[in-house]
């Protein structure tokens, strides 16, 4: 399993756990709802709260859709990994069994607490309880309805999948769907389109209290339309997101837009609902349903994206909570309701009682998880593995078994001393593929020169290492981890192209400012000396010449004693002396064990400094190896002579790669130098000043990039 995929799964597991735990907080708030008639919930607290009512409404908008979205993603992942029969066996154990067993245990408990609570609410006498409606399929599923709904959706989606596979053997339709998924996320209009199905289902409801959102299908075994449409859409979209390689990164990068849309839509919903809580047929109802759809998907995509962006690293605490969340959600209702009944008549403000209910319930539920579930067969059943209670060894960061690797594994890391790697990286900008599944690594203490024509993808590769952009596929590592991590970035130094530093500041001040970012920087004067800029260190940057500016930027790059140094065209505009000085500093850094990535157009620079060369063209690494390897790879030789033959004539001979006429001399690059020389001598008796030599990197590079084009 590669780290990139793993990190995504950590984040998605965290989201699923969050959605479930949010449900506990939601139910814990329900005894505080202002204006609810007695008997609707187990308790009516004597300190109702408009705030909790609004907060509960907001969480209820999205929490189940979020759960079903993630369930869809993991659903496909599991189906891909296990195949049909093992998938159903797995779901039977993890979903169907907890549904049946949980209901048998929980329903009597819940009923008991409800009867106790309602008796308390009515002052000691139990009023006649409403009977279950006498409609076919009526059944009190309680909060376990979500498992039942999930099973129904599995059946429907997998049936639909086989149908698709039959009707669309060439995958044309499915490719179209994939494009629609990524296109709608990129636009980003998915927030609006995904809400449409559930909005139309809600609009058609004859009785709709806005507060209830998607009516909970907990009273019947017959699938209810709004819930099936709403949660079905969420599940299917999660499934499709897993199909697509780009969708998750689009969700990640657009997290803020999505979240803002969710927040704005929610603000409008709250405002409208306060004016009139019951839907009347008309424009407001239609609008409410539409905006409800936007709110659902704004939150779902926004929260998922934010988790992918910020929670993708492994955390033992989050892992534990995510593991515990399933058990906690299954068991929470009787515990929470019992707490609500207990505290309901205490003469205290809801601001005290609500947190008390939450803390006490979570304490009971986590303790029960830790001792009754995690180390026992129940944990094995719910989460796929048992844990020892007191594990001395820190657990290895393995995502839960419900989260297998969605993509094929990348080649294993074979390099012992790599300090920075790009593995299987693809990066697209719209329709342009800047990098196409490339692998490059930089080893400890070496200088890797990245060569290539303009637009080859060199700067994109550097930007990935610097954490400025994220790949569409593949793994970027810097000093053993993600480059976005600021602790790792303290190990890098960087000199970029096309950067102007603040012109009012002096070179010395620029170095001092950059030094403040590092843990253990060089003394400012030492940096200035090593970069060879001491004599103009007190001149304003704006007054320096082009070459001096580059030297000042080099000083900024090396001030933090970097372990990895990225130099993007460092010597452009330098005079020979300054360039020699910079080369000297670079060699000194290498001798100190610093690893350097250098992009350059000056091939002699690569020849002078590089341990290894990687040639990039059209987004691919077309060759990599030592400078000598590069020369050998193309095995070209350079022939020059004075001749009456024309370049065009010689150019058509076998074994000739390139011919140019320079200073009255033919310059021929040839793979078969002996053959060409024999033919030259035979064809032109007056041939003079013949010279044959091994080709330099320049010729090697030209030929390689021409081959790629």
């Amino acid at each position: 399993m590669n780290t990139h995929t793993e990190s995504r799964l950590h984040a998605l597991d965290a989201v699923r756990g969050f959605a479930l735990l949010l449900g506990v907080a939601f139910h814990a708030a329900l005894s505080f709802m202002p204006g609810w008639p007695p008997g609707i919930w187990a308790m009516n607290d004597n300190s109702p709260s408009q705030f909790l009512s609004d907060a509960a409404f907001v969480t209820h908008i999205f929490r189940m859709s979020l759960f079903f979205f993630i369930a869809g993603y993991f659903g496909r992942l599991l189906y891909q990994r296990l195949g049909a029969s093992a998938f159903w066996a797995n779901r039977g154990k993890r979903i169907a069994l907890p549904l049946v067993a949980g209901w048998v245990v929980l329903f009597p408990l819940i009923s008991f607490i409800w009867v106790t609570g309602i008796t308390k609410v009515f002052g000691g006498t139990l009023p006649p309880m409403p009977e279950m409606p006498k409609t076919p399929g009526a059944f009190p599923l309680t909060h376990l309805w979500f498992l039942y709904q999930l099973l129904l959706i599995y059946v429907a989606v997998i049936a639909g999948r086989s149908l698709f596979a039959r009707l669309d053997p060439a995958q044309k339709l499915r490719n179209l769907v994939d494009k629609a998924v990524t296109g709608s996320l990129r636009a980003p209009i998915a927030v609006f389109t995904l809400g449409l199905p559930v909005a139309s289902a809600l609009m058609s409801l004859s009785f709709w209290f806005y507060w209830q959102g998607i009516p909970t299908p907990d009273q019947s075994l017959i699938p209810q339309i709004p819930a099936s449409v709403g949660f079905g859409t969420a599940f299917v979209f999660g499934w499709l997101v897993h199909r697509s390689r780009d969708a998750l990164s689009l969700i990640t990068s657009r997290w803020f837009v999505h979240l803002m849309l969710g927040v704005i839509a929610t603000g409008w919903l709250l405002h409208t609902m306060h004016a009139s809580p019951m839907a009347q047929p008309g424009l407001t109802k239609t609008l409410f349903a539409m905006i409800f759809g936007v709110a659902i998907w704004g939150w779902v995509l926004g929260l998922t994206g934010a988790a992918l962006r910020f929670l993708s690293n492994y955390s033992a605490t989050r892992r534990y909570i995510a593991d515990a969340s399933y058990w906690i959600y299954l068991m929470h209702l009787p515990v929470v309701a019992a707490m609500q009944v207990w505290v309901g008549h205490w003469p205290l403000h809801w601001g005290v009682k609500y947190p008390f209910i939450l803390v006490a319930s979570f304490a009971i539920l986590f303790v029960s998880y830790h001792y009754l579930v995690r180390p026992t067969f129940i944990g094995q059943l719910l989460n796929g593995r048992k844990h020892r209670i007191f594990s001395r060894k820190p657990e290895t960061p393995v995502p839960s078994p419900t989260s297998p690797d969605p993509f094929s594994p990348l080649p294993a890391n074979t390099a012992g001393g790599a300090v920075a790697q790009l593995r299987g990286i693809t990066k697209r900008y719209g329709a342009v593929t800047a990098l196409n599944s490339i692998d490059i690594e930089v080893r400890r203490g070496e200088l890797l020169a990245v060569l290539g024509p303009n637009g080859a993808g060199k700067s994109t590769a550097i930007s990935l290492w610097l954490g400025l952009i994220e790949p569409d596929a593949g793994v970027v590592t810097l000093l053993g981890g993600e480059p976005q991590d600021i602790a790792r970035r303290r190990g890098l130094g960087v000199m970029m192209q096309d950067v102007e530093m603040p012109k009012e500041l002096r070179a010395r001040e620029l170095v001092a400012l950059a030094s403040s970012y590092y843990d253990n920087p060089l003394e400012v004067d030492e940096t200035l000396r090593r970069a060879g800029i001491s004599q103009f260190a007190d001149r304003a940057y704006g007054k320096l010449s082009g070459g001096q500016k580059r030297q000042a930027q080099f000083a900024v790059a090396i001030c933090g004693r970097p372990k990895v140094l990225f130099l993007d065209e460092p010597t452009v505009g330098l005079d020979v002396q300054a360039r020699e000085a910079m080369w000297k500093s670079i060699r000194a850094l290498l001798a100190d064990g610093c690893s350097i990535v250098l992009t350059t157009h000056y091939l002699e620079e690569a020849e002078a400094l590089a341990d290894r060369v990687a040639v990039v063209a059209k987004g691919r690494v077309i060759a990599s190896g030592s400078v000598d390897d590069m020369r050998a790879l193309v095995s070209c030789r350079q022939i020059s002579c004075e001749s009456s033959l024309t370049a065009a004539e010689v150019g058509s001979w076998p074994g000739v790669v390139d011919v140019a006429l320079e200073d009255q001399k033919l310059r021929i690059t040839a793979t078969d130098a002996e053959g060409v020389v024999r033919r030259l001598l035979a064809s032109d008796a007056r041939l003079a000043r013949l010279e044959v030599r091994q080709a330099g990197l320049n010729e090697a590079f030209n030929e390689l990039t021409r081959e790629a084009a």
């Binding site: 803020f256 400025l468 960087v494 950067v499 102007e500 001040e509 403040s516």
Partner: protein, 264 residues
């Protein structure tokens, strides 16, 4: 793998740079830059003062002597303009220019604490705001056109400084969306309508009251009026003014951070 592990241990166990140090240094150099390049700030500093002098001393000088409330109204109008405009332009235009320079890309690549740079920008915006506000308050007090006691002036001044924060955020938003050449234009485009439509410069007819809460200037003015205890010009509760200023700050700064993290 060993080398990798070693490397990550190295980075993790090295003594942490003092985060405060980076914040402080960044702010210090931001202010140094401002001092060394005063040309940018002068027009924006001078304009509100000139306008205040024109209206409060020349045109309405007599009227203010008769109705001191009018003096407070003009003082509020132009001091808010001075402070918020500095905050907006001081942060927005420089941010846009620095984005054009590629400086932001470099900062993102360096291990600079992301917030240090934002804090530095806001700090220099606030310093400019003080520089723009001070001459107005001096002129107002020395010419006797401001009928407020010392405590009220102090409260009003504090309110203005706090009120400039949403405009710093607005500046960051404009600067993160627009290019260096376009930023001043866009900043004016979203700033100037608020000065007129919020009722800051002249009293509005009742039919236009509904739209005043849209403009951040309105809430800053209300905040200042509450803090200084000037009841005549209070139109919304203090809590509303604070909540809206906070909301705008979060919205603008959020958009800016979102945009900067994607584009740089």
């Amino acid at each position: 793998m060993n080398a990798l592990a070693l490397n990550s241990v190295d980075t993790a166990s090295a003594p942490r740079a003092s985060a405060m140090g980076a914040y402080f240094t960044e702010t210090r150099y931001e202010l140094i830059r401002m001092i060394r390049n005063p040309g940018v700030a002068v027009p924006v500093l001078a304009m509100p003062l000139a306008l205040y002098a024109l209206f409060a001393l020349v045109i309405f000088g007599e009227a203010i002597n008769k109705d001191p409330n009018l003096g407070i109204f003009f003082f509020a109008a132009f001091s808010i303009m001075a402070v918020t405009m500095q905050a907006l332009f001081g942060t927005g235009v420089t941010l846009a220019l620095e984005r054009d320079m590629g400086l932001l890309r470099l900062k993102r690549a360096q291990p600079a604490p992301p917030a240090a740079w934002v804090v530095a920008k806001i700090a220099s915006g606030l310093v400019l705001a003080v520089l723009a506000y001070a001459p107005i308050v001096i002129v107002a007090l020395t010419t006797g056109k401001l009928a407020l006691d010392a405590g009220q002036v102090a409260a009003f001044s504090v309110a203005l400084l706090v009120g400039s924060i949403p405009f710093c955020a607005m500046g960051l938003m404009v600067g993160s969306l627009a290019s260096g050449t376009a930023a001043p234009g866009y900043a004016l485009l979203i700033y100037l309508p608020g000065c007129y439509m919020s009722g800051m410069f002249f009293p509005l007819p009742k039919s236009m009251y509904w739209q005043t809460p849209i403009w951040p200037q309105f809430h800053v003015e209300q905040f200042a009026m509450h803090l200084a205890g000037i009841t005549k010009y209070q139109y919304e509760p203090l809590s509303m003014a604070i909540a809206t200023m906070l909301g705008y700050t979060v919205l603008f700064a959020g958009i800016a951070i979102w945009r900067l993290s994607r584009k740089g």
